[in-house]
């Protein structure tokens, strides 16, 4: 790699142009986004001013939302709902990932199996599996089980793709080497699992945001408890400030989860660090 994209643009197109690589240009540390911070400040200020001007309870001001956020944080309702939502998401994710690990590993043992099943996996990608939710409620009840099952299914397919990709990266030579040095079945599988880890984490980057969406949708549809129910409840009682407070909380949780998975990603494949923004 002798060239690296520089901020300067190719004449006339505005497209970043090439420049010789120097250490200074390596994107190891990104500069602090002052302009973005300013834009957020302006946006929040505009929101507050416009809402106060409008003086309509349907368009709550920033301060009203912050107040509602604080209130629901103090009476424990927000944290309780978040806990319920995240627990369902986590259990569903673990089930989906576990199933994908096993099936993906089995699939990678044979090229015939991979060739037969891989097209089916990418074939189900455009199918909206969420439509099965009412059916799952019939089968598993309106409690958390139906939501967990749906999360597991949603997490399963992207993970299966990644796992199978990761498992096939362990080539025959490595397998021979492992048996030649007398590795037991458990030892061999442990090594394969380690080799698959980067792909698994890459799959998590797709799966984790989806999981949060699926849980919130199920709570919106069936109600009961959790953040989705809290938003629906506040909306139906015409308390937009309370609803927005929950939405903001979900956004914060979403950002935190994404950062977490990204950190995990960078840990497991540090060489891709400079390529990911």
């Amino acid at each position: 790699m002798t060239e690296l994209v520089n901020r300067k643009t190719v004449a006339g197109t505005g497209v970043p142009g090439p420049k010789r690589l120097t250490i200074r240009h390596l994107p190891l540390r990104r500069s602090f986004n002052v302009l973005g911070l300013l834009a957020v400040a302006v946006g929040l200020a505009l929101w507050q001013i416009l809402a106060v001007q409008a003086d309509n309870f349907l368009f709550p001001s920033l301060s009203a939302v912050v107040e509602a956020f604080w209130d629901s944080l103090r009476d424990g309702s927000l944290l309780e709902a978040l806990q319920i939502t995240l627990l369902k998401g986590l259990v569903g994710l673990l089930l989906g990932v576990a199933a994908a690990l096993v099936l993906g590993r089995v699939m990678a043992t044979s090229t015939v199996l991979t060739a037969s099943l891989a097209p089916l996996i990418s074939g189900v990608f455009p199918i909206p599996r969420l439509a099965m939710y009412p059916l799952m409620v019939v089968a598993l009840g309106a409690g958390g089980q139906a939501a967990i099952a749906l999360v597991a299914i949603e997490a399963f397919f992207p993970m299966l793709y990644s796992v199978q990709l990761g498992a096939s990266s362990v080539t025959q030579r490595y397998r021979w080497l492992m048996s030649n040095v007398g590795a037991s079945f458990g030892q061999r599988e442990a090594l394969v699992l380690r080799a698959m880890t980067p792909s698994v984490v890459a799959g998590l980057r797709n799966a984790v945001p989806t999981v949060l969406v699926v849980v919130v949708v199920t709570e919106l549809v069936m109600g009961g408890s959790g953040t989705g129910f809290l938003v629906r409840d506040a909306g139906s009682q015409f308390e937009p400030a309370r609803a927005l407070a929950v939405v903001v909380a979900l956004g914060i949780v979403g950002v935190m989860l994404n950062v977490l998975v990204k950190k995990l990603f960078e840990r497991t494949q540090p060489w891709s660090l400079s390529l990911q923004s």
């Binding site: 004449a11 009412p134 089968a139 945001p209 979403g254």
Partner: protein, 255 residues
């Protein structure tokens, strides 16, 4: 057997085996009422083929496509500008970061408060949800254009307009198409949620939810199959369009 034949027959055979085992299991054990065998699903689907279901399929497809088209029409140009103009990127960065991570569907009860139980609320919801993946892919696509291509174009005397039309657009098309495919998939998911939570008077979401209320399993299965068929149909249409477009570069479109 040639490779191209094998590529089709193997997945097909796997599909037959999976459905066959499922059907066989239904013969051996008695499934509970809500669990259909493939044969029963096919029968329920055939029985549902009437004008009423047709109008539900149409309503759902129109909603999904409307939301998806709005999202694409906004996301592609905005992402292009953000990828090329540094200050725009920096201004949008925190907003995109927050709303990308937010489960947008949680805004639906609020949209309903603001816009009523209307198609404007539902389609806004679909458009907002589909916007972000399309934006992210388009942004990465424009950023990832090989600067060498542009240098070559400049060297042979291409004008600014020619460079944009003949270099930037075809180079970015594969990534844009990948984003659009994900956008379509998300549009359909959100359409179901928007139809159920947004109290839609028609559409497949309504159909499935009504089937749920009446414990009419035939209707639920028929609705689910229709939803799957719409998803597969739209995706196939998009893939055909990509294949037909001449002069697109790059084969590296994620499956």
């Amino acid at each position: 057997m040639s490779d191209s034949v094998l590529r089709w027959t193997r997945p097909l055979a796997a599909l037959v085996v999976i459905f066959g085992l499922w059907q066989l299991a239904g013969r051996v054990w008695t499934f509970p009422g809500y669990l259909f065998t493939p044969g029963e699903i096919a029968r329920a689907w055939f029985a549902s083929l009437d004008p009423e279901t047709g109008s539900a399929v149409l309503a759902t497809t129109l909603r999904a496509v409307a939301g998806f088209l709005i999202a694409t029409a906004v996301a592609l140009p905005v992402a292009t500008v953000a990828a090329l103009v540094r200050p725009v990127e920096r201004i949008l960065e925190p907003y995109i970061g927050f709303f990308f991570a937010l489960p947008k569907i949680s805004l639906l009860p609020l949209l309903v408060v603001w816009l009523g139980y209307s198609d404007s609320a539902r389609i806004t919801m679909i458009a907002v949800s589909a916007f972000f993946p399309i934006f992210v892919y388009m942004f990465a696509g424009v950023r990832g254009i090989n600067p060498g291509y542009l240098k070559v174009a400049s060297n042979v005397g291409a004008s600014r307009r020619e460079r944009f039309l003949h270099v930037v657009l075809p180079a970015v098309a594969p990534m844009a198409m990948a984003g659009v495919r994900i956008g379509v998939a998300i549009s359909l998911i959100v359409t179901f949620a928007a139809e159920v939570v947004g109290q839609s008077p028609n559409g497949l979401g309504r159909l499935i939810q009504d089937g749920f209320s009446a414990l009419d399993y035939d209707q639920m299965y028929a609705g689910i199959v229709m939803f799957a068929l719409i998803g597969l149909g739209l995706d196939m249409l998009l893939r055909l369009m990509t294949r037909r477009s001449p002069g697109l570069w790059g084969e590296g479109v994620p499956a």
